[in-house]
């Protein structure tokens, strides 16, 4: 039987506490999927940055809005979606934090860090509104469909 994707969906309040919560949930899934400690940390950090983005810029601290997290374990990769209920944005609008003139900026590194820690990052503007960050990391070899290999 062909492996199917497993999926976890979580809806979080637009609260500061949701940043740690989202990171913790996704790190647990990453650990269970067989990722090594360093990659678990990177995945957690990337999700953390995605939720910070949703909290600060997407939902703008509005407690009436939600942050939607989906974790998918596909046959070869783990995919995390972070969706806010804001106005959306284009990646091209985000200044390059590595540019000399931006090095002393106190914000604007979240997207860059997500890209650095994950294998892939997309930003999609949802028709119904909101920005969806879709980030993925290839499962470690020997791990089938997100299952840790037997010891």
């Amino acid at each position: 039987m062909a492996p199917t994707a497993q999926r976890i969906e979580v809806t979080l309040e637009t609260l500061l506490e949701s940043v740690d919560l989202a990171e913790g949930i996704v790190k647990r899934v990453a650990e269970a999927s067989g990722f090594e400690e360093d990659d678990v940390h990177k995945i957690g950090m990337a999700v953390r940055e995605g939720v910070i983005n949703a909290y600060n810029y997407g939902n703008q601290h509005d407690r009436h809005k939600k942050i939607h997290i989906t974790v998918e374990l596909q046959p070869e990769k783990m995919v995390v979606h972070v969706l806010d209920e804001g106005k959306g944005f284009e990646l091209t609008e985000v200044p390059d934090p590595l540019a000399e003139e931006n090095l002393l900026r106190t914000s604007g590194r979240g997207i860059f860090l997500m890209r650095a820690f994950m294998d892939d990052l997309l930003v999609r503007q949802r028709p119904a509104g909101g920005a969806e960050l879709i980030m993925s990391k290839r499962l470690p070899s020997g791990s089938e469909n997100g299952q840790r290999p037997p010891e």
Binding site: L16, V19, H41, M45, R48, E49, I52, Y55, P97, L98, L103, L104, R105, T106, S107, R109, G110, F112, L113, A116
Partner: protein, 115 residues
């Protein structure tokens, strides 16, 4: 318990702040911000942030470090970093902030390096 603890001490005319915990969005970043602000208000101009016990920093924490740096520079002071853990080191490296901060690995050398 706060996600970041800070204690200050003096070595000659340099103020060393020993941090422990995480410099992240919320309480951690706020502790860093408050600590540096209070030092500046107290007239401290040579500040060494000891990050040997900081194992985690996010983009907000990086923003606060940069803000601390520019604020101290703005009052003609110096702010340096001491003993980065591997994860903090890697983040500062990939964000090119190693070209901004003076990062030292040894406290005595760090203290002597202030003008």
């Amino acid at each position: 318990m706060a996600s970041l603890q800070a204690t200050s001490r003096r070595t000659g005319d340099v103020t060393v702040v020993d941090f422990s915990g995480k410099i992240v969005l919320g309480e951690g970043s706020a502790v860093l911000r408050k600590t540096v602000r209070e030092l500046i208000e107290g007239g401290h101009r040579k500040i060494l942030l000891n990050l040997a016990d900081v194992d985690y920093i996010d983009s907000s924490g990086i923003g606060e470090l940069v803000s601390a740096y520019t604020t101290v520079q703005g009052v003609s002071g110096e702010l340096k970093l001491l003993q980065l853990t591997r994860r903090v080191h890697d983040i500062l490296q990939i964000t090119r902030l190693f070209t901004v901060f003076d990062v030292q690995s040894d406290e005595d050398t760090a203290v002597r390096s202030f003008r």
